[in-house]
């Protein structure tokens, strides 16, 4: 939804001059999580189409963002109370993305000013998480920084300031690493073309990340048929335990 809004706004921001267009694609439209899934690498690539086929003299920049489904979370902060670390303060974010990766051809700060970066949610500091109202601005910042740091270390949030390669000013490509503990859902791959500190074109492609085969079946079973699932878990442990005992008794005597 938001991506579509960007696509509409982008041409308006630069006036009536004919603007270049982006033709983006992703290496995989759907990533399947199977038993041996240890993460994946997604290639975001495409071409910049200039009006009249003329390439600008100045250097253009590209930023790509791969963003996972957002969820409402409670973030708790530990503090030392009477010698032990306990959860003291907490805050709520209504739309924290489960995964967020941004790659650009130059560091974001060098390409655009902070305001523009905030509008397009470019960069780990600019993710719009809708913190619950009531919290102080300073607290919100601290919590958001804490969440970004936490998820950055687990590979769920990442920023690669030199991750986009532009060849001949026309073709671009970026590799983005997806860790094994990535949340499933509908992802969006957004591409931004940046010229003179302005976003002049934007395009978006959907990417689906979902469990498949046995893993998918287990997840659905646990959610929808929880009683049957629980019974089969118990049955499995009884059978395995009993089989082990029977096996060893035969070998023992």
């Amino acid at each position: 939804m938001r991506a579509r809004a960007i696509a509409l706004i982008a041409p308006l921001l630069i006036g009536a001059a004919p603007s270049p267009e982006l033709v983006p694609d992703v290496s995989e439209r759907a990533i399947e999580i199977r038993y041996s899934f240890t993460g994946a690498e997604l290639l975001l690539f495409g071409a910049i189409v200039y009006p009249g086929g003329r390439r600008p003299r100045e250097q253009v920049d590209i930023a790509v963002v791969l963003k996972g489904p957002t969820e409402s979370i409670v973030l708790r902060e530990k503090r030392k109370v009477a010698g032990i670390w306990v959860n003291a303060d907490s805050t709520r974010f209504r739309s924290a993305p489960g995964y967020y990766a941004v790659a650009s051809s130059r560091p974001i700060r060098e390409m655009i000013d902070d305001r523009t970066a905030a509008i397009y949610e470019l960069g780990l500091d600019n993710i719009q998480m809708s913190p619950a109202s009531g919290a102080e601005i300073g607290d919100q910042r601290r919590f958001q920084a804490g969440l970004v740091d936490l998820r950055r270390r687990t590979g769920l949030y990442l920023e690669d300031p030199r991750g986009v390669e532009i060849s001949e000013g026309v073709l671009y490509r970026a590799r983005i690493r997806i860790p094994a503990r990535v949340p499933v859902g509908k992802y969006t791959a957004e591409t931004f073309l940046i010229e003179d500190g302005q976003v002049v074109a934007a395009a978006v492609r959907p990417v689906d990340i979902d469990k498949s085969g046995f893993e998918r079946f287990v997840t659905i079973a646990a959610q929808r048929w929880s009683v049957v699932y629980g019974l089969s878990a118990v049955a499995m442990s009884l059978v395995l335990g009993w089989a082990g005992a029977a096996l060893f008794r035969r070998r023992g005597t």
Partner: protein, 304 residues
């Protein structure tokens, strides 16, 4: 050998998980504890989300105890009457524990409470067992006949109304005592993801004064039913039971349990108790340090 766990939502090394199962199974067969007090912290330490670790550990304890129960039943080491009373108490306790778990989770203090209970419980029981077993070992060294724990008849338990005969345990006591004990372990099973064997075994020996030959078998019998009930509670409420994780742990632990049960008959019981005491104390110490040390993660995420 990486394998993806569908409910935990991450990949793990299969051999590491099976290895954990073997170690835990060994303890289970040796001491009659489910080994959950070791599984849950190990899984969390390995990076499995705590809710999944607690829920899946209970499936593993079920499986590990089933082979243990069979092994002990063959040598007549299960008091079924005592076991049945404990199971009824345990299931009542599990229901109570589920309510407590939800309340604590909502207030955000579940981790701290779990940590504190672990330290207090394991520290006290480990200390008591170590003390008692060292005395017993020294007494035997000096050539005295091994004494039977503390007092054979606890005045508090003798004061309870109604009396049943528990033949195999060699007891004539009120069934309310094992029922209350069962309730306490049921709460612990849900809250801590443990079978509660490390509570029930010392309590059977020191509080109830049961004949030691049926203690391990009967506690495994109780653990078997209560952990099965707990798995059902988790599957229908938290939905955090990972069947693949449970299976990997089980593959290791059924093997370990058999080896453990085999060794248990060769090692002198007082040495067994000392070994268990030391392991319990080590886990308590580790948990205590964990509470005081600055945690690696200051922030934790919880879906809302």
């Amino acid at each position: 050998m990486d394998i993806y766990l569908p409910i935990a939502g991450l990949s793990v090394n299969m051999l590491v998980i099976v290895g954990m199962g073997v170690v835990v199974g060994l303890l289970s067969g040796l001491f009659g504890v489910g080994g959950g007090f070791l599984t849950t912290p190990l899984l969390i330490f390995y990076g499995i989300p705590p809710a999944v670790a607690v829920a899946s550990a209970s499936t593993q304890v079920t499986g590990a105890s089933v082979s243990g129960v069979f092994a002990h039943m063959r040598r007549g080491g299960v008091d079924f009457r005592m076991g049945a009373v404990l199971v009824v108490g345990g299931i009542l306790g599990a229901g109570l524990g589920a309510v407590l778990f939800r309340l604590l989770q909502a207030s955000g203090q579940i981790d701290t409470v779990i940590g504190l209970i672990y330290v207090l419980l394991l520290g006290t029981i480990g200390g008591m067992m170590a003390n008692e077993s060292i005395r017993a070992i020294l007494a035997i060294r000096r050539g005295q006949a091994p004494r039977h724990g503390m007092r054979r008849h606890n005045p508090l338990i003798a004061a309870l109304p109604m009396r049943w005969r528990f033949y195999r345990s060699g007891l004539y006591i009120s069934p309310l005592a094992p029922l209350l004990l069962g309730i306490a372990t049921g709460v612990l099973t849900v809250l801590l993801g443990v079978g509660g064997g490390f509570v029930i075994v010392p309590a059977m020996i020191y509080l109830l004064g049961m004949a030691t030959s049926v203690v391990v078998g009967t506690s495994l019998f109780q653990i078997l039913f209560v952990t099965a009930a707990t798995t059902m509670i988790h599957a229908t409420t938290t939905r955090a039971v990972d069947i693949v994780l449970g299976m990997l742990l089980l593959l290791g632990s059924v093997t370990g349990a058999q080896i453990g049960a085999h060794f248990a008959q060769r090692i002198k019981p007082e040495w067994l108790r000392l070994m268990l005491a030391l392991i319990v104390l080590a886990v308590a110490l580790r948990m205590a340090l964990g509470l005081g040390w600055r945690p690696e993660e200051i922030y934790t995420v919880q879906p809302a």
